[in-house]
């Protein structure tokens, strides 16, 4: 018998309510992701990838179906418990980095620890360590707009790692970066997956990027049309 999966999605539905009526985006999506997996999600624009990721990240709620994280039904949780999950279990990495523009890098990275109620000295020490690991130690006092996009994404990853998450969700993390920088970012994810056993789910449009993953899920029109190896479906 296998252990309970980290993520169990069954019959998930999502529709947006708009002025022009309801817009169904996800139709009956079911998916299991085990602890330690590295999953790439691909699919045409508008196929519902971001919608799916936001639900995985507890940033949005589904309109139907069931989502279990670490064996617990997320649908039953109140907003404080969801906040705790986002703080301790999930690290989210965005295409647009989403750093606080007026706070320096150190403060940005330490922010999740603030909401985890961790003392100031430990907070700053951990933030500095994370920045040093991602090669940005000397920019600790800089503001986000004083460093490059690749560097900002590294800071965002450092921030996602601050709460020691089991799961990293990255929605087009390399979408704004050139291919060389993209490779550097993907190397970081690969290392986190291989060395620390952190589960990684990332959305990308680029087959090259998907090659870093071990499993590929392809969305079309709110359905999963492929779930399996990266090689057969890429291209």
């Amino acid at each position: 018998m296998q252990a309970a999966p980290l993520i169990r999605i069954s019959h998930l539905k999502k529709q947006y309510e708009t002025d022009a009526g309801p817009v169904p985006v996800l139709h009956d999506v079911s998916l299991d992701i085990q602890e330690g997996e590295f999953v790439a999600i691909m699919g045409p624009s508008g196929s519902g990838k971001s919608t799916f990721m936001n639900i995985l990240g507890c940033l949005d709620i589904p309109t139907g179906g069931r989502y279990e994280l670490q064996g617990h039904d997320v649908g039953q949780m109140d907003s404080d418990e969801l906040a705790r999950l986002r703080n301790h279990v999930i690290g989210f990495v965005f295409q647009g980095f989403n750093l606080l523009p007026r706070a320096n890098l150190e403060t940005n990275v330490a922010l999740p620890l603030l909401y985890a109620r961790i003392g100031k000295s430990e907070r700053l020490e951990r933030a500095r360590n994370l920045l040093t690991q991602t090669g940005l130690g000397k920019y600790a006092e800089s503001l986000p707009n004083q460093i490059s996009g690749g560097q900002q994404q590294r800071v965002a990853i450092a921030r996602a790692l601050a709460g020691k998450p089991r799961l990293i969700l990255a929605d087009e993390p390399t979408g704004n970066l050139d291919s060389h920088t993209s490779q550097e970012i993907m190397d970081i994810f690969t290392r986190l997956n291989a060395e620390d056993g952190i589960t990684i789910v990332l959305v990308t449009h680029e087959p090259d990027i998907a090659q870093y993953a071990k499993r590929l899920v392809r969305f079309v029109d709110g359905h999963i049309v492929h779930d399996g190896g990266v090689h057969e479906a890429a291209a």
Partner: protein, 407 residues
């Protein structure tokens, strides 16, 4: 721990947009400053009015010569000397009257060696001390015999004593009033300002007959300027006033239908009116100032709403990495409260400074109480919480994804 960090963040956010923070605070500064200043002035006026009233004596009438209207021609109170010492004696005999103190007054130059001082001279009887609510600081008060024999003794008001004698004790010394030598037998304890702002201590009291015969050169030997009358109680005052009117009309042989040649003023009623007016003014000033405080609060709410809207993405980011609703609420509330308290502190400083300046420039008395400052702070905090809560609540209510998507 959390609060400390949040406060730091609040400072940071305030510093990040200085101009806006400053303008928001300005509303608070003006509001609180106005409240403190207005209350200081209002309470100052009330204080000095009450002080004057306390120095005045209770259940008091002032009877002056002349009618307010006489045959269509207005005459100043006390202009035609129609009241006499015997009027005063007759009033004192009335049932509801405790004492009647006639006063004959004028001004004169008072001299002690090289020092001279121009002041009001009042000729009075022994009853005057109590009726007018004076206390002796030193020496003796005049006796009935001083009035009867018109002796040349004088009791000095504090201001006169200061000006003629400085630190020296005037009791037993001789001064000259209109060339005549007077022995100083006593000095009055200081009273301060009267309701009309006059210095009550700038006076010299002498026996009434002495004043009439030697100092004032009256047309009618017995005439007095006014009579201070004390009723036995507050309840007895209306009856006492009627009795006095009847008595004086009879004594002055005024025919029915003709105007009085005297006026009875109820000083206690006037004092109460003055106190009421001062209180009302104080309240009005406070009310007007409070309005500016509320306007300041609305300013804070305005800015906080803008700030929440502007920072919706930031709120989304914070939520995405684990901030709870409560954390967001606390952050924005603290920001609002910090702005109000900072504004309030500056406002208190400006208000107190302004009050001191007003006092310095106009000599208006001011009263700054701990209560008015505490009130300012309490109101500012309340305004901060009240007007900060709505936008903070709006921010905390957002779902993370909605906040993140906000452009």
């Amino acid at each position: 721990m959390m609060i400390g960090v949040m406060l730091g963040e609040a400072w940071h956010a305030m510093g990040a947009n200085r101009m806006r923070t400053f303008l928001t605070m300005l509303g608070m500064v003006i509001g609180v400053g106005a409240v403190i200043l207005m209350m200081a002035i209002g309470q100052g006026v009330q204080y000095s009015v009450n002080q004057s009233i306390a120095s005045m004596g209770s259940n008091l009438f002032l009877v002056v010569s002349g009618s307010t209207t006489s045959g269509g021609v207005r005459m100043g109170g006390g202009a035609a000397p129609t009241l006499t010492l015997s009027d005063a004696e007759a009033i004192a005999e009335l049932p509801n009257i405790a004492a009647a103190a006639p006063v004959a007054s004028g001004t004169a130059q008072v001299i002690n060696g090289p020092n001279n001082w121009s002041t009001g001279i009042s000729g009075v009887t022994p009853d005057y001390l109590e009726v007018a609510n004076w206390e002796l600081a030193d020496g003796y008060w005049m006796a009935d015999s001083d009035v009867r024999s018109a002796t040349r003794v004088a009791v000095l008001g504090n201001t006169v004593a200061q000006n003629l004698f400085g630190d020296e004790n005037p009791v037993g010394k001789t001064i000259r009033i209109k060339q005549s030598p007077f022995i100083v037998i006593g000095v009055l304890a200081p009273k301060g300002q009267a309701l009309d702002g006059r210095d009550q201590d700038d006076t010299v009291l002498v026996p009434v007959r002495t004043a009439q015969r030697q100092l004032l050169g009256q047309q009618f030997q017995n005439a007095v300027r006014h009579i201070m009358v004390q009723a036995v109680s507050a309840e007895a005052m209306p009856q006492a006033e009627r009795d006095m009117n009847d008595l004086l009309r009879q004594r002055h042989r005024i025919r029915a239908g003709a105007d009085d040649d005297f006026t009875v003023r109820n000083m206690t009623a006037m004092a109460n009116t003055a106190a009421e007016t001062a209180k009302l003014m104080s309240l009005l000033l406070g009310a007007i100032a409070s309005i500016s405080l509320v306007v300041g609060g609305v300013g804070i709410m305005n800015i906080m709403l803008v700030s929440v809207t502007e920072r919706t993405r930031e709120i989304g980011i914070r939520m995405a990495i684990g901030a709870r609703k409560r954390d967001i609420l606390t952050q924005f509330l603290l920001e609002a409260i910090s702005i109000s308290i900072a504004g309030c502190t500056i406002g208190v400083a400006l208000g107190v400074g302004g009050a001191l300046l007003v006092n310095h420039l106009t000599q208006t008395p001011i009263v700054i109480t701990f209560a008015s400052i505490a009130l300012g702070f309490a109101v500012a905090t309340a305004v901060g919480v009240f007007f900060g809560y709505y936008p903070a609540h709006q921010a905390a209510r957002l779902r993370p994804i909605e906040a993140l998507r906000y452009q």
